[in-house]
Amino acid sequence: MAHCCGDALMTNARRFMIAAALAATCSLPACSESLRVFAASSLTEPFTELGRRFSRAHPGNTVAFNFAGSQVLRTQIEQGAPADVFASADLDHMQALRSKHMVRGAVLFAQNSLTVVTPASEAKVKSLSDLARPGVRLVLAGENVPAGRYADQVLRSMDDSGRFGRDFRSRVMANVVSRELNVRSVLSKVTLGEADAAFVYVTDAATVRPRVKSIVIPARFNVIATYPVAVVAESRHKALATEFIRLLRGPEGRRILLRHGFRLPNPHGQSR
């Protein structure tokens, strides 16, 4: 900047003024030149990183993210929210939009699994069977939040195995003190030490180590959480949206996902 001649400085200043004026006139997530990506809250870190890469690769285009529970995003899209890309943490919410022709060409791009987290300092819960102990405060995601549905599935298969004593699932459910609206709220209740345990994704737990401890859920009880992504049918930036999905599924996107602890689906995964 310092070596700039007056003219360039002027143009820069003017450009800045125009940008500021534009920024002031367009509401935050709804800028004309920005791609709007609605993504499950568990995708916060990898997608934020990917967004930065995308902006660098496509100068002049920014990515605005809306991270929330997949069920919230689905409702917002159903209600006509301006979205270009939808990335869900389960197949159901994507399927619901597909059946209404609100998204196009959903593809799978990541997998995840669940874990139980406890506060690192004082763990009332040391094993999976402790979840059923009276007085334990357990937090789950809501019944329509993918993370909540997956947790219900895990508890059911633990119950069916018969290895955790009678009525394991109902004893655990009796300890539930809150059903949060997205998995990150679930996580924060444990990070703050307000809850004794919670079901979150393996990748969520990794974001707050060492403040939480994880209890591994063995594969035979665990679920494979599957993440589909699609272009929203009403999108005004379909080409750009397709570009974003290409980046996500390309080598760079895969690297970022793996680094954040996600697993990759088998190649050419088409969702149901």
């Binding site: 409702t75 937090v139 329509n144 809150s178 059903r179 609206l181 307000e194 809850a195």
Partner: protein, 273 residues
């Protein structure tokens, strides 16, 4: 319009019309969303959705918690309001600001503050937990969030009420041999009555609409901490019709409280504004 301003200007009809037209924008802006909500309610047989278990449980919980929290606002707020109305003391300005603070603090921030005070690791919460008292995720947490957010509404109205009481009448009561306590109950409270009731209703309305602090501090569990507002938020994601029905229920409660509050606070257009 009962405009009793001292200005000698008198609005003629023409100007009234111009002002009316100029106000149309905001009137439409306020009315259309409400109309949309009601329209959605009636076109989707909203009444049937009010019987859903979620709506019923949320309504009962909301009634229970708001009644208790409003009562607490009155019990804890009345001495405070009287103090602010009648006494001058150092630090009054600070106290005044403190009492008004919850009105301007975002509720979600109030939730964080409550968590840091009464949560398991909070300043006070950690000592409570040591003796086996846990507040987070309980109905008590809901009530605390409501008191925190709603109490200023009562205190402000009550203070104005106490300030408006004619001190001569109180002195007359003393002269007639009534003690302080009796004077307070027989003279001061009845005279400040409309303000007290108005404040009570406003505080109740604010408690009814509490969302952010509750979500943060009490969590979301049907029958225990899921109030009407949290039920709307939860239902929005799965069952829009129930969300609309519960919204209309909340709207009806809000309108009822507003009408009541205005009646008591005497804000009807008339010679007693």
């Amino acid at each position: 319009m009962g405009n009793r301003a001292k200005s000698t200007r008198h609005w003629d009809h023409g100007e009234g019309w111009v002002l009316g037209l100029a106000s149309m924008g905001i009137i439409a802006f306020l009315a259309v969303p409400i109309a949309a909500l009601l329209l959605s309610f009636f076109t989707n047989s909203g009444l049937s959705h009010l019987h859903s278990e979620m709506a019923v449980r949320a309504l009962w919980l909301t009634m229970r918690t708001t009644l208790i929290s409003t009562a607490l606002c009155v019990i804890l707020g009345t001495p405070m309001a009287y103090l602010l109305a009648r006494k001058r003391f150092p630090g009054k300005g600070i106290l005044d600001t403190l009492v008004d603070l919850p009105v301007v603090v975002p509720p979600v921030v109030a939730g964080v503050a409550l968590l840091l005070a009464f949560g398991r690791r909070g300043l006070i919460g950690r000592h409570l937990e040591a003796v086996g008292i846990e507040i987070g995720f309980t109905t008590v947490a809901v009530i605390m969030a409501q008191v925190f957010i709603a109490s200023p509404f009562f205190i402000r109205a009550a203070r104005a009420g106490f300030e408006g009481v004619d001190r001569e009448l109180e002195r007359a009561a003393y002269t007639l041999g009534a003690g302080r306590w009796r004077t307070f109950w027989v003279v001061t409270v009845p005279l400040a009555g409309p303000s007290l009731t108005g404040g009570l209703v406003l505080a109740w309305a604010r408690a009814l609409s509490e969302f952010g602090a509750t979500m943060m501090f009490a969590g979301n569990f049907p029958g225990r901490t899921q109030t009407l507002t949290l039920a709307v938020m939860t239902a929005m994601e799965s069952d829009l019709d129930t969300a609309v029905a519960v919204s209309v229920l909340s709207l009806a409660l809000a309108v009822a409280t507003l009408v009541t509050a205005k009646a008591f606070l005497g804000r009807w257009e008339g010679p007693h504004g």
